[in-house]
Symmetry: C2
Subunit: 215 residues, 2 copies
DNA sequence: TTTCACCGACCGTCTGTCGGTCGGTATTAT
DNA sequence: ATAATACCGACCGACAGACGGTCGGTGAAA
């Protein structure tokens, strides 16, 4: 049957379907036919809205991009939140993505979606780092931190969390995870030249993020 | 024409061809036909030696694995080399891979080979980190370094260098690269609790690695 | 005569293309 | 105001081309 919609509405339908399918079966594992069936459109329609399958992925990433960085920016700019808490929240917003759709990132970390994962990681490293750095500079001004290389510091922190914590890159049981987080907090304090123990609050929130989402 | 060879010889021919082709055109961009033509064998022969295209990639990665970690282990175990120099050499061995085939890793860092890259990165992080950690412990015993978390420290260092320096993950011009290395050395010193400036030698060797290979 | 490396025709599935169709909307004539 | 017309954006589905993987069969060496 023939159903006509506005281009943007249709585009989003396709993206929503692709989002779910890529999450379940990976990019390579999802055929364009899978998407067609899910949206109930014909082949030509898909290629009317997107020029290729990879184009769909790029559009999806663009959506993630906007959401993730948008959320991070809002949090980072809210100077009413204490600096350290703001840092924690920005870090968390990278994984949970802020809103009701908290299963966005969960799918990404699978061996199947390597390319998508790589592209998102690139966006996070190059997008989140400057946002975090701004907070760090604030902290330096207030005497909380002390480093001549705030940007590179945060780049290291962001790159590390994104490879080791977000992935199946390093396999850990809960115990190893806990010690990894302890060490991470300690190391971050050293990198930032923060007083020992001043970031320990981070650990708790990290821990709860893993166990289960409470709001 | 029909040419018969020992299975292992043929396997290596196929791997060599795949290595070069994947490097040039990426994994997805290389068809099995490309490999067949290059090796001058028939379809069935390829699938006699490998059960799938991905199997070829995994065998390739296994080769890298052996070479990279093998080289790293040899260097790390040579206690005649001063600790800091050993660290530098291990880091370098990750990129140059030791021997005459120094173009192995160059191809990997392309958006096309995302899956292969991810798998190799996993091997490096989980394989090189313990090797490096051993050296660090030696350094701690000698009073050069001081950290309660040597493993997690090195994990951070290895993960960072592999994402930021080895990739097109972060685009940098030479100037940015230089400052990135300066900061990296500084940060690593902090992480390891090393005396400021004690690792500066690293910077020089890193610099030469980029410019051109001498020996 | 058994075994091992090899062959190449063939299959199903995939992505992407292309000529053509349909329905709503703006425009014009009545 | 209403009807005829022209237009265009959204949609369709048959099709082409290429790909990864299979299988029954072949030839040479052991």
């Amino acid at each position: 049957m023939r159903v006509v919609k506005e281009a943007e509405a249709r585009r989003n339908e396709i993206l929503d379907a692709a989002d779910e399918l890529f999450g379940q079966k990976g990019f390579d594992g999802t055929s364009t036919n899978d998407i067609l069936e899910k949206v109930s459109i014909a082949r030509g329609t898909l290629y009317y809205h997107f020029k290729s399958k990879e184009d769909i992925m790029n559009a999806l990433i663009e959506r993630y991009n906007t959401r993730i960085l948008g959320t991070a920016k809002v949090i980072a700019a809210d100077k009413s939140i204490p600096i350290i808490e703001r840092i924690v929240r920005v870090v968390l917003s990278m994984n949970v993505s802020g809103g009701s759709e908290n299963q966005i990132m969960e799918h990404i970390h699978k061996p199947q979606n390597a390319l998508m994962h790589q592209k998102i990681q690139k966006i996070i490293i190059n997008g989140v780092t400057p946002i975090m750095t701004e907070i760090i500079r604030e902290g330096i001004a207030k005497g909380l931190f002390s480093t001549p290389f705030p940007y590179e510091c945060m780049e290291m922190v962001v790159a590390y969390t994104n490879t080791v914590f977000d992935d199946d890159m390093v396999e850990m049981n809960n115990e190893e995870r806990t010690s990894r987080i302890q060490a991470f907090v300690f190391n971050t304090e050293r990198l930032l030249g923060a007083e020992s123990g001043s970031l320990t609050d981070i650990m708790q929130m990290f821990g709860s993020e893993n166990g289960g989402n409470n709001e």
